[in-house]
């Protein structure tokens, strides 16, 4: 999945658009989702879907898989939310169910906004955003190196696992545990090798004490899309205010 998300984030129709706009849009959407009621949350979810699948053209099957797997957490927590322990027996709790439904609508809206960002914004651009919002440069440098080596180490781990399986490993609990421990150790050795190699390679390229990031770049959002955001968000906020004015009560 990690490769899929990473690849999609670089190869979607919105990948070159200003990351600040995308992240700002999603942040306001999440704030709105927290402040609003299910009808508005539903509208938000739909809107985010339009951007992610419609404008950015993320394939529906990947989107659905991601959405579903993220919702597993909700599914797992549902019994705890909706079932009451009363005098030693279990029973549905109406207020619990009510909470669960509320959480579901809010979580879906927030999730769709988050997926919009992570599926349409390449990691390199997210680093730029992190820098803009004042994350210490040390942390960004660490993230940069991590991101660079993450895929390499994942690939190494995958190959090592395959080699072990090709030689009859990973059968039975005890052996699996042993094989995994060996794998982690080898991976650690490989990691340290990477570190030594990188230290040399970067010194040869003039590394002194900082990894200097490239300056911020990003195409700005097209006028109609910008208008869509600038009109849409206040409109949704207005709907929410109207709902509250009317004393909206969720039927459940």
């Amino acid at each position: 999945m990690i490769r899929t998300i990473d690849t999609l984030s670089y190869r979607n129709a919105l990948s070159s658009i200003s990351p600040l706009w995308k992240c700002g849009f999603a942040a306001v959407a999440i704030a709105l989702a927290y402040a609003s009621h299910p009808p508005v949350q539903l509208l938000l979810t739909g809107w985010m879907l339009l951007w992610t699948i419609g404008y950015a053209r993320i394939p529906l099957k990947y989107y659905a898989a991601l959405f579903g797997s993220a919702l597993l957490f909700f599914a797992a927590s549902l019994p705890a939310l909706a079932i009451e322990l009363r005098e030693g027996s279990l029973a549905w709790s109406d207020s619990g169910l009510h909470t669960a439904v509320q959480v579901l609508f809010r979580a879906t809206a927030c999730l769709s906004a988050m997926l919009f960002v992570i599926l349409t914004t390449p990691m390199a651009q997210l680093f730029q955003v992190l820098r803009k919002i004042g994350i210490p440069s040390l942390v960004i440098e660490l993230m940069l190196i991590m991101y660079r080596f993450l895929f390499l180490l994942l690939e190494t781990a995958r190959e090592m696992t395959m080699a072990q399986r090709a030689r009859g490993g990973h059968s039975g609990f005890k052996r699996k545990l042993r094989d995994t421990a060996m794998l982690v150790t080898r991976l650690f050795a490989a990691t340290m090798q990477r570190y030594h190699g990188l230290a040399r390679g970067l010194t040869a390229r003039g590394f002194t004490d900082d990894i200097r990031l490239a300056p911020y770049e990003g195409a700005s959002l097209s006028r109609p899309r910008r208008a869509e955001i600038c009109i849409g968000l206040p409109l949704l906020a207005a709907v929410e205010i109207w709902l509250r004015w009317e004393g909206f009560v969720w039927p459940l």
Binding site: M1, I2, I5, D6, I30, Y34, L66, L71, F73, A75, A76, S77, L78, P79, A80, L81, I83, E84, L85, L90, W92, S93, G96, T99, V103, A107, T108, C110, L111, M114, I118, L126, L138, V139, L142, M143, L144, I145, M146, Y147, R148, F149, L150, L153, L154, F173, L177, R178, T180, A181, M182, V184, T185, L187, F188, A189, T191, A199, D209, D210
Partner: protein, 239 residues
């Protein structure tokens, strides 16, 4: 059958179904302990962010001091962070079938210390949110507090305590890893319980419910991770 009994039966079936579901070997269930995006009420989401940030800041300060003296250590920490991420994505065998998500925070905090681990751990969590959609941004504070702060500190404390009192390193390593895992799970359950207290019984009852559901996967995982970490430690020493 009476209506009430019927309802009860349905409920038991439901719980059994979910339990089975969570124990089934599927990579997604593994990350069950990452609270999903938008799940926590706004007050709690902010609260956990506020609780987490001081530890993060202290960790960053500590790292800044270390790396100012030896800039190459920055590269080492970055590579170690990538290693931690891979560790957390690795499938580890568990008594209930193989499953991923060893947190690796126990091992990490023994090797690098708990404060640096809180920085590396929270960056790993951010990557998991951004590259895997596990966990979330608003819930990052809560997740980081349980996994990158509580877990490492508990593991590290247990390690120091056992090393001082018994001197048996393997035992200390086992408990450091297992407790780091367990403590993470307990804190997460507590976070959920505090956010969603039960109608009758309040936080305590809710804690029992959340804890009960996740115990099925998390307790065997903690034991497996303890065993695994001991094996890794042995290999590392002999290498």
């Amino acid at each position: 059958m009476k209506r009430k009994d019927k309802k009860l039966l349905a409920t038991v079936l439901l719980v059994a179904g979910f339990t089975l579901y969570l124990t089934v070997n599927s990579p997604q269930t593994a990350h069950a302990m990452h609270i999903m995006e938008g799940f926590l009420p706004v007050g709690w989401a902010v609260f956990w962010w506020v609780a987490f940030i001081p530890f993060f800041a202290l960790g960053v300060r500590k790292l800044a001091i270390i790396t100012r003296e030896t800039p190459e250590l920055k590269l080492m920490l970055g590579v170690a962070g990538a290693f931690t991420f891979v560790l957390s994505a690795l499938k580890i065998p568990s008594v209930t079938g193989s499953s991923s998500h060893p947190t690796g925070t126990g091992l990490g905090s023994v090797m690098f210390g708990p404060l640096p681990m809180s920085v590396l751990g929270s960056v790993v969590l951010l990557f998991q949110a951004v590259l895997l959609a596990h966990g979330g941004i608003t819930t990052l504070g809560a997740n980081a507090f349980s996994m990158a702060v509580c877990g490492p500190f508990a593991g590290y404390a247990v390690y120091r305590w056992l090393m001082n009192s018994t001197g048996k390193q393997k035992l200390a390593i086992f408990f450091a890893a297992a407790i780091a895992d367990l403590f993470t799970y307990i804190v997460t359950s507590l976070q959920l319980a505090m956010a969603f207290p039960a109608e009758s019984g309040g936080i305590l009852a809710s804690f029992a419910k959340f804890g009960g559901i996740f115990a099925v996967t998390q307790i065997p995982l903690a034991i497996s991770e303890g065993l695994l970490t001991v094996l890794i430690w042995n290999w590392l020493l002999s290498y």
